[in-house]
């Protein structure tokens, strides 16, 4: 190559690499495994900067789903687990992977469906009745199918409505194995019903002809809990920094930050760290 052309290219390459090189981070940080709903709704974007400013700790969120988050906790790849599946969380602690479970907040699930509503459930207040109608009508229903908190809640609701959905599903039941957002995309494109958390729904932009059809039933209540990964099982877990985060999120200040998160004026998550039996 011509000398000058070669030089130009190497300078450009060097500049590019330097520009992309990170500033050295001596920052303290913890890794939190959480669910897609908390990240995608925008909750973390709202509360974590408040926490970082107050305590000087960076929180790195790996937002997957309840199943994978708990798995990360078992492997020791996270310091704190923040999910919404109480029975799975309690099992996690019973098996020795977590120290203690503290309730943090709740949001609710809503039953989403097409405005055309073939199963005729719109406006109902009884989620179990609605599910029975959907099954009876063999209306298309999209499930996350990914062992997430939402998926587990959905299966539990089917059970309470008298259906063992794993055994009794028909072609109308679409098991997508995806997160909340992709499942909503799927429901939108096929005009199907699905169970979603309100937070993700409010910030979801591709609604098509979907709308909330059933809400408010106490059984749609969705509780979040936070757990420190057991430092006895994994020596490297940042137990002190992790505990600072946990203490903060259940403190008055943390709870206030959660309540202060709104989309279009609506509050998505309701702090309840002090609630008994939550």
């Amino acid at each position: 190559m011509e000398m000058s052309r070669k030089k130009l290219l190497s300078i450009a390459l060097a500049a590019l690499i330097l520009a992309a090189a990170p500033v050295a981070q001596a920052q303290k940080f913890i890794t939190v495994a959480s669910t897609t709903s908390t990240e995608q709704s925008g909750l973390f974007k709202h509360i974590l900067p408040i926490f970082q400013k107050k305590k000087g700790i960076e929180v790195r969120v790996v937002a997957l789903g309840t199943g994978q988050s708990l798995d990360m906790g078992k492997r020791g790849d996270a310091d704190v687990v923040f999910v919404h599946a109480k029975s799975a969380e309690e099992k996690f602690i019973a098996e020795g992977y977590g120290v203690k479970r503290l309730p943090v907040m709740y949001n609710d699930f809503v039953l989403i469906g097409p405005k055309s509503d073939p199963a005729k459930i719109a406006g109902g207040k009884d989620i179990l009745a609605a599910l029975r109608k959907i099954k009876a009508a063999s209306a298309p229903f999209v499930s996350r199918g990914d062992r997430s908190g939402t998926h587990m809640a959905e299966i539990a609701l089917w059970k309470h409505s008298g259906t063992d959905i794993e055994k009794e599903k028909g072609p109308w039941y679409r098991d997508t194995g995806q997160g909340m957002g992709p499942a909503l995309n799927t429901a939108s494109s096929m005009s199907g019903y699905l169970l979603a958390d309100r937070g993700t729904w409010i910030s979801f932009k591709n609604r098509g002809d979907l709308a909330i059809l059933v809400e408010g039933d106490k059984r749609l209540f969705n509780q979040y809990g936070v757990i420190l990964v057991n430092p006895v099982k994994h020596k490297h877990v940042k137990k002190d920094l992790g505990q600072v985060f946990i203490n903060w999120i259940v403190s008055a200040e943390g709870q206030k930050a959660i309540a202060g998160f709104r989309i279009g004026g609506e509050q998505l998550f309701f702090p309840n760290a002090n609630a008994k039996g939550a």
Binding site: I17, A21, P22, K45, V62, L64, R75, D77, K205
Partner: protein, 234 residues
Amino acid sequence: MGEILIALGEAGRLIVGAEAALVEIVLLSLRVSLTAVLIACAFGLPLGAAIAVGRFWGRRPLIVIVNALMGLPPVVVGLFVYLMLSRAGPLGQFGILFTPAAMVIAQTILILPIVAALSRQVIEDAWQEYREQLRSLGAGAMTSALTLLWDTRFSLVTIVLAGFGRAAAEVGAVIIVGGNIDGVTRVMTTAIALETSKGDLPLALGLGIILLTLILALNAAAYWVKEGAQRRYG
């Protein structure tokens, strides 16, 4: 159609605005993929040359294997590297999981076979032409390999750019080993995946257009280098 126009508008707005978050994502994407390409070439080019020029037992099966590895599914590589780097895994003590370093490792594994296989092909073709003359002049296997690497440099540049393009375009590996952490391991492709799953399709498309433009510019550069060199150097 309307969606695409909105996306173009969004892309324009993003680029002109040059928001810090966007710039950070693009720079991180470049940093990860460039580093991966550099490492992959440092190992892959000599490997390709060695296989092209060498004569050893198992050479043919090795060529087949390296060619086949070009088709490694990124998500499988991601899963494998995740299991290796997880605290529960053999290399867990280094704490590399969910950092850009893990992403570099995964992408390097992905593009190394591409660089090795393609450079082997290029160098072997050149070797057919040069072999007798180089041996006549007294060049041994190592010297020949180095000579061929330099002589095929323009074709090799094209291969390097192809490797970079492949790295910059994949999402399966980096999302698993990086965790798509906001501000730490979020790159263009994982950001697109996230925005799509949030249903923010215009934003996802906008990012996608930026990524496509980058890849296009890269291919144009590769073409420019090859053509210019062909004309000047024969």
